[in-house]
């Protein structure tokens, strides 16, 4: 079956090559950039864990971080927002804010696509925010609908992403279990060996506070320019390597920081979060 699909792809690829070489380049010209000439575009957030695929509650086959700590994952959710694309000659298009918020949930594969509309064109750069921008984080209740509705997702155990006491969103929520978590108040006093990373902080309403909003810029030239056209679905396929939470530049041990929420240490982890995203390929 898989082999067949691969063969089909090869065939299509072959035919495609034939077609392209067969016709003059004018057949697929870069369209004139016009902000109103919108076509479908998506970014796929494909979660992985180091060299392995992502799976929830993997207690029978644990992951191992750089510090040698074995762990399983029980929850992964993060906000992606404010998608922007740029062409090689510097033309930019920012998706209107109201249609540019996505909650990627590890437990629900259907949520892995951020589907938007951008003008037809060839894009060499993709920019997005990991988290919810500070402007939206200070907006009135009318502007907090859908996934930004503080009621959505329920309480924190069931996946809610809103911090009532701090009037902000959790940008990145990552939980799991590891035998290295202690049973005292520094670890998990319930004895369930849980670790919890709830990373948020939009910079404060009136006075500056920690800001863990991360704007991520991806160069698409190496792994595939996004050719957005009306008659197809251009999809930028990203790998999101959650192992980097532990193994990024600010690597740390679960045993030493089993719970990080709204605290100064969260800034270190948030830096690692920028290293999660790698462009694998583009489906045009």
């Amino acid at each position: 079956m898989i082999k067949n699909i691969k063969l089909t792809y090869l065939f299509i690829f072959y035919m495609g090559t034939l077609l392209i070489s067969g016709c003059s380049k004018k057949e697929d010209p870069t369209p004139e950039f016009a902000a109103s000439n919108l076509a479908p575009f998506s970014v796929e957030f494909d979660n992985i864990v180091g060299e392995r695929t992502f799976s929830l509650n993997n207690s029978t086959s644990l992951y191992t971080n750089a510090a040698g700590e074995k762990f399983s994952i029980s929850m992964l959710q993060y906000f992606i927002s404010n998608i922007k694309v740029t062409t090689a000659d510097g033309k930019e298009y920012a998706v209107p804010q109201n249609s540019s918020y996505f909650l990627i949930k590890g437990a629900d594969k259907a949520t892995r696509f951020a589907k938007v509309k951008v003008p037809e064109g060839d894009y060499t750069k993709l920019t997005f925010t990991l988290g919810v921008d500070s402007l939206r984080s200070t907006m009135g209740i009318d502007h907090r609908t859908g996934i930004l509705d503080p009621a959505s997702g329920g309480d924190h155990e069931s996946g809610g992403m809103y911090w009532g006491w701090n009037a902000g969103y959790i940008f990145f929520k990552f939980e799991g279990n590891s035998a290295v978590v202690s049973d005292d108040i520094n670890g998990d006093p319930t004895g369930k060996k849980q670790f919890k990373y709830h990373i948020g902080g939009f910079g404060g309403y009136s006075a500056p506070t920690i800001n863990n909003i991360k704007v991520i810029t991806v160069d698409l030239t190496t792994a595939g320019v996004a050719k957005v056209r009306k008659d197809r679905q251009s999809n930028v396929h990203m790998f999101v390597n959650v192992m980097k939470v532990f193994n990024g530049t600010n690597g740390f041990k679960i045993a030493e920081h089993p719970n990080v929420m709204f605290s100064d240490y969260s800034v270190n982890i948030a830096k690692n979060l920028t290293e999660l995203f790698k462009h694998d390929h583009t489906e045009n």
Partner: protein, 348 residues
């Protein structure tokens, strides 16, 4: 039997008489005026454009405020901790007493003059009244419920179908509508008819007694830099020198993680102190006398102690016994009977 009838008749009579007396209130309900700024108050901070107060919105908000279904086991309403007769505080409780008899860590503040509030909670963190109710609803020691469940429970009740439709045009129960209605009710909890207000507005020849006047002068000199008139708070967060609490509550710091915010708490209003004891963020002082003793003798040099409380190298605010008597007399002019008895704001 007939005795009962007579009793009913008697009560009916009383009711008629009472109605007559209350007729200004009745007409006021009929021509609901919405939010009106008291003339001696500054311009409110709340964005009324996004949520104008209407009669039906207010009524929905009031119903929700007194609705125990907002808690996990339908036992606790907002009104359980914010009791009108106690100027919407939980009189007699140092820290809040919530669901399953769980205790919180802070004293329930009054629901009062919130349209002028820039920040909410003793330690800040919430800056928009419309987002405030999420905190008690989802807090383990308060209502321990999640918002999705609350909305589902509300949707099942015909009473709310009707009220939401009246307030917002359709029956839809959304987070935004729910929050806005609660805000409309809370915004109408205005305390502006104390003796002090009447003196300031020169109403009905109201004047301070000699003691009250002397207390007012002292107050202006010693307290008004933080407890600014006419709301009796400047809305800022400050450290007024309380000894650290056993749980080491660090106030604003928890929300901002800034060194300069450690041990700072929101300056509370001083209106209605007669009804709101105990005092301070953790309700540590049972009486006003206790508070005055604190300012006079017990101010501690903790991190970020406000400069006003260490002027000239001396801790606290010196108060003689006469000072205490007159300041107490002045503070009593801030009690507002009309506010705690306003039927519009009671559970219906």
């Amino acid at each position: 039997m007939s005795k009962n009838h007579w009793t009913v008749f008697f009560f009916l009579l009383l009711f008629v008489v009472a109605c007559k007396k209350d007729s200004p209130v009745v007409t006021e309900i009929e021509r609901f005026l919405g939010f009106e700024k008291p003339v001696n108050f500054p311009v409110p901070v709340y964005n009324f454009e996004a949520n104008p107060v209407t009669k039906s919105g207010f009524e929905l908000g009031r119903a929700l405020f007194y609705e125990p279904r907002l808690s996990r086991n339908n036992t606790v309403s907002c009104g359980s901790c914010h009791i009108q007769s106690a100027a919407f505080t939980q009189h007699g409780h140092d820290v809040s007493h919530g669901i399953d008899d769980r205790l919180g860590t802070r004293n329930s503040p009054p629901i009062m003059n919130l349209a002028w509030n820039k920040a909410f909670m003793w330690g800040g963190g919430v800056y928009d009244l419309d987002l405030q109710p999420i905190v008690p609803i989802t807090t383990h020691e308060e209502m321990d419920e999640n918002l999705e469940n609350v909305l589902s429970k509300i949707r099942l009740l015909p009473k709310y179908t009707r009220l939401f439709k009246a307030a917002f045009g359709t029956e839809e129960v959304s987070t935004a509508r729910f929050m806005k209605a609660l805000s409309q009710f809370m915004l109408m909890c205005i305390s502006s008819n104390s003796k002090y207000d009447k003196v300031m507005r020169k109403e009905a020849n109201a004047t301070f007694t000699a003691d009250e006047q002397a207390g007012y002068m002292l107050f202006k000199a010693k307290c008004a830099s933080c407890h600014v008139e006419p709301l009796f708070t400047d809305g800022s967060f400050r450290n007024n020198g309380l000894a650290k609490s056993p749980i080491n509550d660090q106030g604003l710091y928890t929300a901002t993680l800034k060194e300069t915010d450690r041990y700072k708490f929101k300056v509370p209003s001083l209106r209605n102190l007669q009804y709101t004891a105990p005092f301070m963020h953790d309700g540590r002082f049972l009486t006003l006398a206790g508070v005055l003793d604190h300012y006079n003798l017990e101010v501690q040099q903790t991190t970020n102690l406000d400069l006003a409380l260490q002027a000239g190298g001396k801790l606290g605010i010196a108060l003689t016994e006469t000072d205490k008597t007159t300041i107490t007399a002045f503070l009593a002019t801030l009690n507002d009977q009309e506010f705690i008895n306003n039927k519009l704001l009671s559970e219906q």
